[in-house]
């Protein structure tokens, strides 16, 4: 999990804006530039299998952060299994 946050930092430092989504609150420790946090399950980060509406909703909310200047506080999404 921490590798994602650290890679996001490295990409941002290299000039690439980043965003990520996670179900795991420990993601905050790495201090990524932009992130959403859900209450979804490990192994199903974007939503329940075949719940395309939920998966698209998580993606849209996470990608929308790219339009904002970083760093941002982590954005909590009300997404559950």
């Amino acid at each position: 999990m921490q590798s994602v946050g650290l890679l996001a930092r490295a990409l941002e430092m290299a000039g690439v804006a980043t965003t990520l989504t996670s179900w795991n609150p420990v993601i905050r420790l790495a201090k990524p530039p932009r992130a959403t946090l859900t209450r979804l399950n490990r192994g199903a980060t974007l939503g329940e299998p075949h719940n395309n509406i939920q998966q698209r909703r998580v993606l849209a909310a996470t990608l929308a952060l790219l339009a904002q200047d970083a760093p941002l506080d982590i954005v909590h999404l009300d997404e559950t299994p």
């Binding site: 590798s3 994602v4 430092m13 804006a17």
Partner: protein, 173 residues
Amino acid sequence: MEIVENLTQWSDEFEGNWLKHYQETGETLWKIYNRARNETAPGLPGIDLSQSRLLLISTAGGYVAGEQQPFTAADLLGDYTVRTFPVDIPLAQLAYAHDHYDHTAVTNDPQVLLPLNHLQEMVVEGEFGSLYPEVISFHGYQPDVRRIVNELIPTVLGMVDKGKIDGALLVPA
């Protein structure tokens, strides 16, 4: 700005606690594991999504079945290598080598971790400009932060043409 603030201190604690215990017992004792902690985050200005090319990065351990070497999922010290595959690859061609999450969901519907079809639909619908042609894939079980900083991250940065990427979406497993 550093990728990891106080990496030397992190390394000393890792070697003296988690790694020492693992080397002596073969056990991964997470209650003594020190996660990397940062106080500040880097930040670039926001981008215009409608004009942006986005890179997808996944830590699900995905690889092209029958063509690429699987990740060494059983290595309790982690696998820090990287695979790439085309963003338009049929999802059925992918397999997952990662022992640290339940594969039931991703086997049932790969888009829970690798949203290739969703992202292509979003391009068609104008939600962002385009997708970088390659997906970056690795195995997210990587307890040694030094190897993340010194092996994984330089490999990823060297694999992509940063001049052709405006933004990156990272999806952990």
